[in-house]
Symmetry: C2
Subunit: 333 residues, 2 copies
DNA sequence: CTGAAAGCGCTAACAT
DNA sequence: ATGTTAGCGCTTTCAG
């Protein structure tokens, strides 16, 4: 059996209409008389006709496909964002081409170009690392782009995220109210927009405002074992409260503390800034900045559908609200 | 700037060759003289020509796109499989269209049909729930399919997985050697091929072989809270050792035990059968059947590339080796 | 080694 | 309401 043996032409012949009419009924065009529509439908069903989306795409210049650019699918942060995107995409009948860029073989701008070559109708970019080449690639095209769970420096692109500075400040304040004075910030890549322009400035400002000195910012701490190994350094620096950008990293610190016989939160308070499922299943459960990841994805995709339809989008920089989930890794006084 | 302003025709004109020749150099056809190739390349670069993949797909009947069908991206089991698939896909220059079927709006066979309409060159199916309509949809097409991390009842389709029966038996044996006699099996959907034809028979056989009676099989225990709530039942039934099909569920049981003041492994031994990252970051770390998820995905995708090229694939039912990772949720005597 | 020409399967004016 | 006719941008014989 062939991949595609029957075409719109076969249906037209069998139903004794032109292919234009078949096309109309397939696309739900109302300008078809009821009985011809039914006749055509009957033939479609009998022949099991299925439109070739590639041909449709070439002819109509719309592929009903959106591209997703994501650093790493096994990072639940992105997986949860993706789920929100996926659900809305399904609702609006878009397919998703996913491209992960963590792999060294794939640069950001190449990923974008690949998606553009496939003629996607729009793209959602989820990495908080948006290099110059990527920005230029986006500017060269008129295919709409939305950033999800991240922002760009100059707010050139539509985005959906939270107010990272406010969230971090609030988290630092929680630590401060618990009596902690030696506060640290643990980051992965320090050069991303979220780190460099949001978390770090918020941290520095907080420390200055409260007369806590320079503080300690640890960078390039990216996974569980990095976190695990960081503990001795934290001890050495006398840290008693820490904000960690990624939750598996936070869990690494937590496990390291437990294994070393330290008590959390008594000896060290931990707050994770990007909570996923993992933050809540470890014990003690991690106090966290809970970003509405699913919603961020969903809102981003919804905005993209509007952009793809050239609809009005008054607010292009959307900030959703977060909450600070007080769990067991802080005393919450 | 247009989505696609320059076509192969523009390049042909500028380079003073026919579009056939441009097509040849774009596709690396060797039948082009070196200097014409270079001349064409220069024009391509000057004009920033990028081939329209949709047009290529229509003309060549190959889209260099594969479809992925996955129940839930936020389940790390599938995310890790996907990563293996993605890396190999990148290597062979395939794009990936991902479809999740967890959503009630999308049935398995609809997902398949949607992918087929998009003219994917192949599909990888990752759900261990393969309903009859899905089987028929696959049979109706000659687009190759590979099952990853699961199997079908009759081994009709190529698949990459592990020997679930052997793995479960080995895990049960570990519990038995630790002196446990009241062994239970905790499953999500009991009607999948992996559950119904592998885990359950292996469990029943083990219980019978060791004179341990009927045992206890708990079904439809799907997430952390299901696991959490199951504990009281386990206690009631006097269970002292349990195999859990999903690791977040296992963590639910574990946390419930901890919160109830029980000791793991002393009071209850836990082994998770589908270990992901989560199994190793909780404390006590979970003893687990470690499936090589990344490799399963990678091997499945590699096999699919061969199938798509009509290459010989002698072994279509591949079983990769697993290992039993002895951690802290068993005494390991 | 290169070009001409016929599609791939469908949409979208434009007629009627 | 329906049919006719050009393409969409590219690949692929088939000639030469």
């Amino acid at each position: 059996m062939r991949k595609q043996d029957i075409t719109i032409y076969d249906v037209a012949r069998e139903a004794k209409v032109s292919m234009a009419t078949v096309s109309r009924v397939v696309n739900g065009n109302t300008n078809v008389r009821k009985d011809t529509r039914e006749r055509v439908m009957k033939v479609i069903n009998r022949l099991h006709y299925q439109p070739n989306a590639v041909a449709q795409g070439l002819a109509s210049k719309r592929t009903t496909t959106v591209g997703l650019i994501v650093p790493d699918l096994t990072n639940l942060y992105f997986a949860e964002l993706s789920k929100g995107i996926d659900d809305i995409a399904l609702l609006y009948k878009y397919n998703i081409i996913i491209t992960s860029i963590e792999n060294r073989l794939m640069r950001e701008d190449q990923a974008i170009q690949g998606l553009l070559n496939k003629q996607v109708d729009g793209v959602i970019y989820m990495s908080d690392n948006l290099p110059e080449e990527a920005i230029e690639a986006f500017k060269r095209t008129d295919t709409p782009v939305v950033l999800a769970g991240t922002k760009d420096s100059h707010s050139e692109f539509p985005s959906v995220a939270i107010d990272y500075q406010k969230a971090d400040t609030e988290a630092l304040n929680l630590l401060y109210n618990d009596g902690r004075r030696n506060l640290a910030l643990v980051l992965g890549n320090p050069d991303t927009v979220v780190s460099a322009e949001n978390r770090i400035p918020a941290y520095k400002k907080f420390m200055a405002d409260h007369g806590l000195g320079e503080g300690h910012i640890y960078t390039n701490i990216k996974d569980h074992s990095d976190g695990y190994n960081l503990l001795s350094q934290l001890e050495q620096d006398g840290i008693d409260g820490v904000i960690v950008s990624r939750d598996v990293t936070a869990v690494g610190i937590l496990n390291s503390a437990i294994d070393a016989g330290k008590k959390v939160p008594e000896d060290l308070e931990i707050i994770t800034a990007n909570a996923t499922q993992i933050a809540s299943v470890v014990r003690p459960a991690l106090t966290a900045i809970r970003q509405p990841l699913y919603d961020i994805g969903a809102v981003a995709m919804r905005m993209l559908t509007k952009l793809m339809n050239n609809e009005e989008v008054p607010e292009k920089q959307i900030e959703l609200s977060y909450e600070i989930l007080k769990k067991q890794s802080t005393t919450n006084e």
